[in-house]
């Protein structure tokens, strides 16, 4: 058993098929709900459970659902954000690959709760093989009468489709995702209006992450109090963390929120690889500020992370060792955001480009002391001033690194070389 809830049965052979899924209690939440609970009752249970969006923002899911206008002549849409593009995150991939029916059940229930009759699962382009898995599962569900004109014979109609993106980080941002799904370039839109009021095709739309939707069936089946057995008051439930970097056992781990990073990294992942020490941890995907090794005891929940000046984010934990140059690591992250900036707004388009240029100057040994403050200054001019969160995602890691590892930047300027750099040293070997 690799986790208490979503990962409990994940390695069961044949779970992809509807028969095995139902043997393990699958679609019971749906059977229990259809014809027995009202949509309002479903929203109330999810609200009471305290479930928060697992894609990165941590917004309360029940509250998001309740924003959909009750009286609207327009159709409503439920959209699953399966774009999973945050570097360091690979949880949704394993969840969908191994347990596609749980996502389908979660989508139907969420659709029912907000009064939607059509759902779309937006997958990143690289997930073409997952699209095939999901399409097969959707066909099975349709055959079993769980999708179509009358879900479980309840008279409630629901159809579900998959949609494949084609390689754009920005499409993980919900309004950009909707633009892409509509057939436009995947650029973000101004909020408000929020998707709950004017989303897909200007109709009321809820966009939820894969892991969030997968938590819905067990919550509706067992109740809010049951879900609150894990986690704490403000961060209830479980969360999947994707651990990468030089640890002994990288991979996905589902733990109760509030579990300390030390348990995750030392106990579950077996600690650092031999000969390497922990230097820093990026707790929630490459867009959140890193924490130094001394903060290893911090509990993995939304509030504790905020108190440390960082975010739980998507749960993509990137572990950085003592032989890695922080400036070099930050350059890797920054050039990614510079490449993925969609070009719509100036602070992000220009700012990420200049950040990347300054990193190149620093790493080539031609950096000046004032470049360090310039990085901070540009980051400050992007943060909160860009059109969507991509700009913030590029700015925040730099602020975090300057706060905890400024000495490495200074060393690079003074000595024209990194304090340590395993990656550069290894590359030099290849060139030799």
């Amino acid at each position: 058993m690799r986790g208490p809830l979503l990962f409990k049965d994940i390695d069961t052979p044949g779970l992809k098929g509807i028969a095995r899924y139902r043997e393990l209690g699958g679609y019971e939440a749906l059977a229990q709900t259809m014809g027995h609970s009202t949509p309002e009752a479903c929203i109330d249970v999810v609200k009471a459970s305290g479930l928060r969006g697992r894609g990165g923002a941590g917004f309360p899911t029940g509250l998001k659902w309740s924003f959909v206008p009750k009286q609207s002549p327009k159709p409503r849409y439920i959209v699953c954000n399966a774009d999973e593009s945050e570097p360091g995150t690979f949880k949704d991939r394993e969840l969908m690959e191994k347990n596609p029916h749980l996502l389908i059940e979660g989508m139907i229930l969420a659709g029912y709760a907000i009064g939607s009759h059509v759902g779309y699962i937006y997958l990143r382009g690289e997930f073409e093989y997952i699209q095939r898995i999901l399409d097969a599962a959707i066909a099975e569900a349709r055959q079993a009468g769980l999708l179509g004109d009358s879900v479980f014979g309840s008279g409630y109609a629901f159809e579900l489709h998959t949609h494949l993106g084609a390689g754009a980080y920005i499409c993980g941002e919900e309004t950009a995702l909707l633009s892409s799904l509509e057939g436009y370039r995947g650029q973000p839109r101004l909020k408000p209006p929020f998707p709950a009021v004017e989303g897909l095709y200007a109709c009321p739309t809820v966009v939820n992450n894969v892991e969030t939707l997968m938590a819905v069936p067990p919550i509706l089946k067992h109740g809010a109090a049951w879900y609150r057995q894990w986690g704490n008051e403000k961060s209830p439930g479980t969360k999947v963390f994707s651990v990468s970097g030089p640890v002994k056992r990288p991979g996905n781990y589902e733990v109760a929120l509030g579990t300390s990073m030390k348990v995750l990294i030392d106990d579950l992942c077996g600690g650092m690889r031999d000969g390497l020490e922990l230097k820093a941890i990026i707790p929630g995907g490459s867009s959140v500020p890193m924490l130094p090794a001394s903060d290893l005891d911090t509990p993995l929940d939304y509030e504790s992370m905020n108190a440390k000046g960082t975010f739980l984010g998507s749960g993509g934990v990137i572990v950085i060792d003592d032989q890695t140059c922080i400036v070099d690591a930050l350059y890797n992250i920054t050039r990614f955001y510079a490449h993925e900036s969609c070009g719509k707004c100036t602070p992000c388009r220009e700012g990420t480009f200049w950040l990347s240029e300054i990193f190149e100057r620093l790493l080539s040994g031609k950096g000046r002391m004032e470049d360090i403050d310039l990085l901070g200054d540009i980051a400050d001019n992007i943060l909160g001033k860009s059109f969507c969160a991509l700009g913030d995602a590029a700015a925040m890691p730099i602020q975090g690194a300057l706060k905890h590892f400024r000495h490495e930047f200074e060393h690079l300027v003074t000595h024209q070389r990194s304090l340590v750099n395993r990656r550069k040293a290894e590359l030099a070997e290849v060139r030799a």
């Binding site: 159709p75 382009g125 494949l164 990656r423």
Partner: protein, 142 residues
């Protein structure tokens, strides 16, 4: 946005969907309330069929979803996974994201460059391999 492909202006030979693909094209159009939403599915179908998106293929997609050709070109260039140039039989994509970089992605890429004699975005003269640096493939180290 480092590369800026130029929209083809010359008339390209007219291309049609092979009969075997028509049901999939129709299914894609039926999934959405508006035709333009089928632009990504149609581009994918074309790329899977012909290996890359030639000017003729882009024009076919434009006709299918009833959009102006320049708009379809603008959409195709927005997404990195669409090949607007032919690619080799094997498209080698090395993930350079921090997680992978920490585990030796740079070394792997250098090795491939040396071994194949080509750089990022290039194809071997015999048309067998295209090499590319990409990001966030999420391939967990097993």
């Amino acid at each position: 946005m480092s590369h800026a492909p130029v929209m083809p202006t010359e008339a390209a030979p007219r291309l049609e969907w092979p009969a075997a693909l028509l049901p999939e094209v129709e299914a894609a159009l039926a999934r959405y309330p508006v035709k333009r939403s089928a632009v990504l599915p149609a581009l994918w179908l074309a790329q899977r069929q012909w290996g890359w998106l030639s000017p003729s293929a882009l024009q076919l997609v434009a006709r299918t979803v009833e959009l102006p050709e320049p708009e379809v070109f603008g959409i195709a260039t927005f997404y990195t996974m669409f090949n607007l140039q032919p690619v080799g039989r094997y498209h080698l994509q090395v993930c350079m994201t921090l997680s992978c970089s920490l585990m030796g992605a740079d070394r792997l890429f250098k090795h491939l460059e040396k071994r194949l004699g080509i750089g990022h975005g290039q194809t071997t003269p015999d048309g067998r391999f295209t090499l590319r640096k990409v990001d966030a493939l999420l391939e967990r180290l097993r």
